[in-house]
């Protein structure tokens, strides 16, 4: 087996990003995904400024009705407009998805990178720390957070981020351990390059692909964790909803009122599909070696 060849031609980060951007634009699925997510995010953001959209306005006598001209996505069992609830829910779910994923990616990558690169005793210690966090009971952790700090949306991000970074850290560490042994890194070290420079120039570009791919996998977990936290009283408070809580409620009555599950689940799935294609596109675009094809 011939040894893997190093990336040596990363002369300037500048052109790397530019090239990546050009490549990404050519990837139709990725572009379609990006456009879908952007449109959805915009619609959710502007929902409060649209007249007539209210997530809480009830019409008890109306009850759950199928999609119609008045209510495009139907109404729920309290007679609330499902489209409005979905758009308002998007604000919560998209922002949680974005923020908590970012938090977990940042922590996970940094932790995994340092642990794997420095290695030795620090690595062993760091990984045992991760093992401990894996084992601690999440429910009780969240209940405690709430008792001590009260209900707070920023804590929500921290609570989710605090548990979702562990897989990322282990994956990045695994990659870094392998990279470290490759010739180009050893050469760089032999040349006396500083750690910071090696990490920035050689390690990060090489783990970026897997980080992006795994980030897109964290998003759905984060969004559903939010629904679980709502169950604990920590997420959105009724009558507000998020996609996660809408899907949860919809799943209880989907045989009677299929639209209550179909639209939120559809929104959720399409968003994730889009993000995944965008993620794959980004990965491919940033894959320096493949670009030589």
């Amino acid at each position: 087996m011939s040894p893997p060849q190093p990336i040596t031609e990363v002369e300037a980060g500048h052109s790397l990003w530019q090239d990546a951007w050009l490549r990404l634009r050519k990837n139709k699925m990725a572009v379609a995904g990006a456009i879908f997510v952007l449109v959805l995010a915009l619609a959710s953001l502007t929902a409060p400024f649209m007249p007539g959209l209210s997530y809480s306005n009830q019409n008890l006598a109306l009850g759950a009705t199928a999609p119609s001209a008045a209510h495009w996505f139907g109404t729920d069992d309290l007679g609330r407009d499902q489209l409005s609830r979905l758009l308002y829910g998007g604000r919560v779910s998209l922002s949680v998805g974005l923020a908590a994923t970012l938090v977990s990616v940042l922590i996970g990558v940094l932790f995994g990178m340092i642990s794997g690169y420095i290695g030795g005793r620090l690595d062993a210690l760091a990984m045992r720390f991760v093992d401990i966090l894996y084992a601690l009971p999440f429910t009780i952790f969240v209940i405690l957070l709430m008792v001590i700090y009260g209900r707070n949306i920023y804590l929500l991000f921290i609570a989710i981020g605090a548990v979702e970074w562990l897989d990322m850290a282990r994956i990045v560490r695994g990659q870094v351990l392998a990279l470290k042994k490759q010739e180009f890194v050893e050469a760089a070290r032999a040349l006396g390059l500083r750690k910071r420079r090696i990490i920035l120039r050689h390690m990060i570009p090489n783990v970026l692909g897997i980080v992006i791919v795994f980030s897109t996998l964290i998003v759905p977990r984060v969004m559903l964790t939010e629904a679980f936290l709502s169950f604990l009283g920590f997420g959105v408070q009724a009558p507000q909803a998020s996609w996660g809580t809408l899907i949860q409620d919809g799943a209880r009555s989907w045989e009677e009122f299929p639209w209550l599950l179909f639209f939120p689940a559809g929104c959720f799935s399409l968003t994730l599909f889009s993000l995944n294609f965008l993620g794959d596109g980004l990965r491919d675009a940033l894959d320096v070696r493949a670009s030589k094809d």
Binding site: S56, Q58, L60, D77, F231, Q237, A238, P239, R252, S253
Partner: protein, 550 residues
């Protein structure tokens, strides 16, 4: 390992989604199989905490334990009135304080021992022993000195009102004449246990004796414990030693602890259960309309309500409490939100509880509510502080809370914030009065207004509103020692009128019980406590019985 290979093959086949047609065709459902063998398949809600009748507390446990044990009296399958059980007859003294039970000679434990008056005496001693810490010991407090013994103030059990006259005669002396005493005996806390068996597997007067396992359990009921797999199934078999085994027609009952009501409904639909514990909210309408043959609906002795924390402003003002309570459109809630045929509650004790119907009723008068609020200093909701409405997380509670929020906003112009908490946190919050308005519910332990009204006594463990009223306490005490049943109910009328005037709570609706029941299940009547004496239950298929539900 053969199953492994088989499953792998299935997995692959299902994954590729092809080539399965050979195994199609109508298979016999579990229910059809069970019908042939007189085996009742019952959804039983949650996994029982224990099958020791002195340690268990829930309704779920009670419904299993009543197959295994039988008390002095038993229940009529239609209206649950007391009928002879282990006691074949009983005498009541003229002052209503002394009951003498004559036990039948042929009552036997499942190990063949005769059931004697001494067994009951030892059982009652056990449940009242402080170290056992039975949570339902208070069901015995109507008996003379029982409370003192349970609290450890009295150490001589001979002074408690139980007396063994001879092997087959037991005498019980009460503190006061208690009209609901006989129905009370059908609660599991009055069922006998076989003490030698308990002692064999652990300390008899402490929790944690492992005698309730299959193969160990010794009971005197119509069924014996055959198998108990946690979170899977509990199987009981017809007992060969039961005195009335001629009446028992079922060979077996299987209790399935299916907590998720959607899963339970699916299992029923697929022909895996005869009767379910509940029915998902969304499915009620569908079944009521399309499957009246399996839709079962009846009253259930319980009240859904909200508590006010009466210790903090503005809810320490009874005008505010009344305004909030009156402004609710209960009819709309029942028709559009709860949708299970619940009766809107304009008072607290469910109508027809042991012959008691509350005379006083809350008005449905929005103008009155606005007037009261204005009188309390908040005209049109102006200046009313922001309030929190607390409920434990559940779809049903959320829907009601959301509807209330909207009603108060529309009718009184009051902003209320909804807060949901996980069950144990919620209990902690309500018990420590760390809330403003909180959801509550109460299911009666026995059919009597006392079970609903004595919880609002000053400092009562289940009061949890901070409400204290001397006059109310006096009325409940007067009812307990009332000379006759009519006077007794009159005291309850006055007490409840006072409760509704002071309004430490908001009654919302009276419970109903909705479940699915297959037509071949006979001898199963809708009862107030949802008890169904199993010895009268049987399965009878008719040719027209349809299968499943499309």
């Amino acid at each position: 390992m053969k199953p492994v290979a088989q499953i792998s093959a299935w997995l692959l086949a299902a994954g590729v989604a092809g080539g399965l047609t050979t195994s199609c065709g109508p298979r016999e459902t579990r229910v059809e199989w069970a019908n042939r063998h007189q085996i009742l398949l019952k959804g039983s809600g949650s996994e029982p905490k224990d099958l020791d009748p002195h340690v268990a507390t829930g309704v779920t446990e009670h419904h299993i334990i009543m197959a295994l044990l039988e008390g002095l009296v038993a229940e009529d399958p239609v209206d649950l009135h007391p009928v002879p059980g282990v006691a074949e007859r009983w005498d009541i003294s003229p002052d209503g304080k002394v009951y003498t039970f004559h036990l039948r000679a042929n009552a036997k434990w499942s190990n063949g021992d005769p059931v004697t008056a001494r067994d009951f005496f030892e059982t009652y001693k056990r449940i009242l022993t402080p170290t056992l810490a039975s949570e339902y010991a208070y069901m015995h407090f109507v008996v003379k000195n029982a409370e003192a013994y349970n609290a450890g103030k009295l150490t001589d059990f001979a002074q408690v009102g139980y007396r063994v006259v001879d092997d087959h005669t037991l005498e019980i002396t009460l503190e006061n004449a208690t009209p609901y005493f006989l129905p009370l005996l059908n609660h599991m806390s009055w069922f006998p246990v076989h003490l030698p068996t308990i002692a064999k597997y652990g300390p008899a007067y402490q929790r944690g004796s492992k005698w309730t396992r299959a193969g160990r359990f010794v009971g005197n009921g119509p069924f014996t414990l055959e198998k108990w797999r946690v979170n899977d199934v509990i199987i009981v078999k017809k007992s060969p030693t039961y005195w009335d085994q001629a009446t028992v027609r079922l060979n077996e009952i299987r209790f399935y602890p299916i907590e998720d009501n959607n899963s339970e409904e699916r299992a029923f639909r697929a022909g895996q259960l005869h009767v379910t514990e509940t029915l998902p909210l969304a499915k009620i309408e569908t079944y009521r309309r399309n499957r009246p043959d399996v839709f079962s609906f009846g009253p259930y002795l319980g009240t859904y309500f909200y508590r006010f924390n009466t210790t903090k402003p503005p809810l320490n003002d009874k005008r505010v409490r009344r305004a909030l309570a009156i402004a609710i459109d209960r009819e709309s809630l029942a028709a559009n939100v709860t949708r299970g045929g619940q009766t809107p509650a304009y008072h607290f004790t469910p109508p027809g509880t042991a012959g008691y119907d509350c005379r006083t009723k809350l008005p449905a008068d929005i103008a009155e509510a606005r007037r009261l609020l204005a009188e309390a200093g908040y005209p049109n909701g102006k200046g009313f502080p922001r309030m929190e409405l607390l409920f434990n997380t559940s779809e049903g509670h959320k829907a009601i809370a959301e509807a209330l929020q909207q009603m108060w906003k529309r009718q009184l112009n009051i902003e209320v914030e909804l807060v949901n908490e996980e069950w144990k946190v919620f209990l902690d919050s309500t018990q420590s009065l760390n809330y403003q308005i909180a959801r509550g519910s109460w299911i009666a332990d026995y059919v009597d207004p006392n079970s609903f009204l004595d919880m609002w006594l000053t400092g009562g463990g289940n009061n949890e509103t901070g409400w204290a009223n001397k006059e109310y306490d006096a009325l409940i005490a007067a009812a307990a020692s009332a000379p006759g049943p009519q006077q007794r109910l009159e005291f309850f009328q006055q007490a409840e009128a006072l409760l509704l005037d002071e309004m430490p709570i908001i009654p919302i609706y009276f419970y109903t019980r909705v479940c699915l029941k297959r037509p071949e299940l006979k001898g199963w009547h809708s009862t107030l406590l949802d008890n169904h004496p199993y010895k009268h239950v049987y399965l009878e298929t008719t040719a027209t019985t349809t299968n499943g539900h499309q």
